[in-house]
Amino acid sequence: MNLSKYIAGFVIIIYLALLGYLYFGIGKGKTYPSKPISIIVHSKPGSSIDFMARKVAEIARKYSDVAFVVENRSGTQGLVAMQHVLDMKADGYTLLGVTKSFLSTVMVNKSKVSLDDFQFIAHMVFDPEALIANNERNFHSLADIVQDAKNGDTPQVWIGPGTGSRDHLMALKSWETLEINARWIDYKSAPQSILALLRNEASVYVGNPADIKGKNDLDIVSIASNKRLKSLPDVPTFKEQGYDINESMWRGFAFKKGVPDEAVRYVTKVLQDVVNDEEWEDYCDETYVFSNFLEQAEFTKQIKKEIEETNFYLNEAGLLVSYKKAGPNIFLVLLIILAGIFFVILVFSKFKISNISYDQIIAGSIFSISLFFYYQTSLFLIPDSLNITSPSLIPRIWIVILLLLSVLLFINSKKKKDVRKHHSPRYVLIIIVLMIGYLFAMQWVGYYLTTPIFILASMYLLKYRKVPFMLINAFGFVIFSYLIFNKLLHIDLPLGWWFI
């Protein structure tokens, strides 16, 4: 027993040393930059923007005193990453990787995040939109595509990831300029689109030149830029063929508004040095993109222009105006009303409230939650101009199934007597409250201070009383998680708003 006391003391000393180490460094460092600069990327590792950010971080080592560290925060087409940057201080240590897709993201989602909250400090590259086809189609020029479209009985099928995405807007632009009729089918992701193209399911895939890398069966018909790519000298541009389309996905970096000028100047300088580096040229050739460095003023001007254009094409795609509500389906409504009446009769005719079993309560809850979901489906918006299956179709199928099953469960459980005995859920409720408290406290005072308290409190609640073991467990766990997460996996656990 004595030994465990010594171990507990030892663990606590290490914990205090760790706290000192973690919190002592905060607030020091007067000249910018004094700590690593994070680059927030809105997509998963391996995506184009992620790849670019990692390349920048690698080359920047030569030119910057501090490291650039890439962090992925994917979700909601970039809104998660944007929101994350806005949540951080405007101190110049959080850089956001931006792409042209953010313009439509902000417009379509009508989110409270606005592009005006950011200062776009550097345009790095642009990646021309490309029309790609399976080589069995023998499309060698835009004229071939137009020819095929005019000869065919049915409209051509054009595919790509997303509705309202840059690729979709590029398709709309192309149809207008080439004066052809075609259908857009959204294959959700680039890999699924490319698979469909490999199967020759579609006429054209709208993507970027790098998509054909390593695939022998695919050809780029044309790219939408002013000049040809150095590493793909045989691929013609739209302009050469007499069509004036210049459409590309740019990538660059932005800060939250209000970052000190000193920081903006520093990072802009580093990024400029990166672009002038030989390795950068290699990277651009390797990934089939054009290097084009623009500073804040020019970049911002360009974005202003593009916002108007994006607005125009999103309108055309029917994604900004003229919605209709999905509205209730009459047949379903009748079915639901019938089921509802049946349900109400069941509840009130045969049962006293005190006799209702646990299963019946659950059945009733599922029934009412399903009804609530059904009401929500009638509010879904469908753009008038798009011909797609209704977004409410599948949810309604599940809802009807759940409604029927819950009625069945209600009837079924009346036959059997409920023999389960339930214990008092008091401790569970206390634990849940404790967890919610821990969650909020953690955001304010950080992981390292709150976690031992939470662990000690819940052990106490679960009636564990051997103090030395409790201390070893609580503080040892914090030290262990620091080593695993911070040191081995390079994930920073939150230090708390009060301290940063």
Binding site: G46, L195, K213, W398, L405, R420, P425, Y427, I491
Partner: protein, 496 residues
């Protein structure tokens, strides 16, 4: 023999100090990634990506592939020990693995899972080496119709998972299916059911939901039951037990079959190892001599999903290497790694860099074997942890679930999701509702809806039945759905 020559090239490429060291590190890191709830294989691989910048291509890829492989095994450890699947692929392992732990036989489950994982990994690698070209055809021939059919096939497995009350099983899966429709519509850039909550616009994050439903649900339930949590005896673990080789040998056909299922499903881009584990579990149950033991601590029920899960690793590399298309979240990161080292994934890779490709294959072999021995040593440690009093263990699991849910998107909301699903899991357990079908619904819901609607855009309803691929899968789905009931009927008749 071309293949032998290529393998020899690969061995020369792999057989150096640095690649071997990276394999050893990769396996150990991978197991840890698997054990920690919230760290899925793809996140683990992504976290190791920066480490590879300074390495030569073979060492870099060996490191990532080893992490990918062994994290798939690591997920089963916590699934067995504390009913918390460390990775989505380990959900099916909880059904019987945790049951065995509750019966005081965790070592049985851990050994079975380790052996099955190793077998699955090795068989997957062999298939990858020998048949990657024909399998690429399978990956390519899967269209939205087949994906939809596969999703439906996956759902039919509920009839084996439901246990005593099929009705409750169906309700559970319905809850999962409905909840996963929250978030972005599959065809339009609009959010459904998000009720104006910005954090809900992208839907429910899967991993926090998984952790909540299994880990928190179980903890809440056993706290409520007021079991004797503080005593060591309550855990009932016999530390001296060991698994006789004979028991493991009996599982060889299950392991072989499940590994094949894992590899085949694994090589379909976007389907993934998790679906494979459910299919393998269902198949093992339907063909077992003792289907009644499933869900009550059957060793077959542990072996099948684990073999399938690690078999899927070899499968997932097929579309990556032969078509240049990532089949899973982890292989998407691998493509990034290839590009960082200026290699083009795709058919040209085999011609240009046979030494590298076969070097990776060979490293997979050795990684499997090394994983087995690390696992053996690890099992001693896990057993001790399992034997610790629950009142010491539960607070730690709660804290781990917190970190696991939090750091995926640095989102407090995700931790809220985790707690909410914990409460849901608890409520369901109180009423004997099985929780696994909820997860099945969450996994398959998106796949079913996306591909149904894509298919209807491209064609008509009838196409599901006129295409041989989707027709076969739909028939399989029917069989798998009704088989358990037919079997029950037959056995009842026989008893009479």
């Amino acid at each position: 023999m071309g293949i032998l020559n290529d393998l020899w090239l690969g061995l020369q490429e792999f057989g150096h100090f640095l690649p071997i060291l990276m394999m050893l590190i990769g396996v150990i890191v991978g197991i840890m990634v698997g054990v920690l709830p919230g760290l899925s294989p793809s996140i683990g691989v992504a976290l190791m990506l920066p480490v590879t910048y300074g390495l030569d291509p073979i060492s870099a890829l060996v490191l990532l592939v080893s992490v990918y492989l062994s994290s798939n095994y690591g997920g089963s450890i916590t699934a067995i020990a504390i009913n918390t699947p460390g990775t989505p692929g380990a959900v099916a392992t909880t059904f019987d693995g945790y049951e065995l732990t509750k019966q005081g036989k965790p070592l049985y489950a851990l050994m079975t899972s380790l052996t099955a994982s190793t077998m699955g990994g090795i068989i997957g690698t062999i298939i990858l080496i020998l048949f990657s070209v024909p399998l690429a055809w399978l990956a390519l021939s899967f269209e939205s119709y087949e994906y939809f059919a596969l999703g439906v096939f996956g759902l039919t497995i509920i009839s084996s998972l439901a246990g005593k009350s099929p009705l409750k099983g169906f309700i559970s899966s319905g809850i999962g299916l409905l909840l996963i429709t929250i978030g972005f519509d599959t065809q339009l850039p609009f959010s459904r059911f998000s009720m104006g909550i910005p954090d809900l616009a992208d839907g429910i994050t899967f991993i926090p939901a998984l952790i909540g439903l299994f880990a928190l649900g179980e903890i809440f339930y056993s706290i409520e039951k007021g079991e004797n949590l503080e005593s060591r005896k309550a855990a009932k673990v016999d530390l001296s037990q060991s698994l006789p080789l004979k028991e493991l040998l009996k599982l060889k056909y299950v392991m072989l079959k499940s590994s094949l299922i894992g590899t085949l499903v694994g090589c379909i881009p976007g389907a993934g190892g998790t679906i494979a584990t459910f299919i393998a579990y269902d198949n093992a149950k339907n063909s077992s001599k003792h289907p009644e033991e499933f869900g009550k601590g059957s060793l077959e029920g542990v072996a099948a999903p684990e073999a399938a899960n690690n078999g899927s690793v070899g499968g997932a590399l097929v579309p990556l290497l032969t078509l240049g298309i990532p089949g899973s979240a982890s292989t998407a990161v691998l493509i990034g790694a290839l590009m960082i080292h200026k290699l083009n994934p795709g058919p040209q890779l085999f011609d240009k860099e046979p030494g590298l490709v076969y070097g990776i294959f060979i490293s997979l072999f050795f990684a499997n074997i090394f994983m087995f021995f690390v696992g053996l040593m690890g099992n001693r440690l896990w057993i001790k942890i399992i034997a610790a009093p629950k009142s010491l263990l539960y607070p730690i699991i709660l804290a781990l679930s917190f970190i696991g849910s939090y750091f995926i998107q640095n989102s407090v909301f995700d931790v809220g999701i985790c707690i909410a699903f914990g409460i849901l899991g608890w409520i369901m357990k109180r009423g004997d509702f099985p929780t696994a079908p909820v997860i099945l619904g969450l996994i398959l819901g998106k796949m079913i809806e996306e591909n149904l609607r894509l298919s209807l855009l491209k064609g008509e309803w009838i196409d599901f039945f006129t295409r041989p691929g989707s027709l076969i899968i739909i028939i399989l789905a029917m069989v798998s759905f009704f088989l358990p009931y037919i079997k029950k009927r037959i056995s009842k008749v026989n008893i009479r």
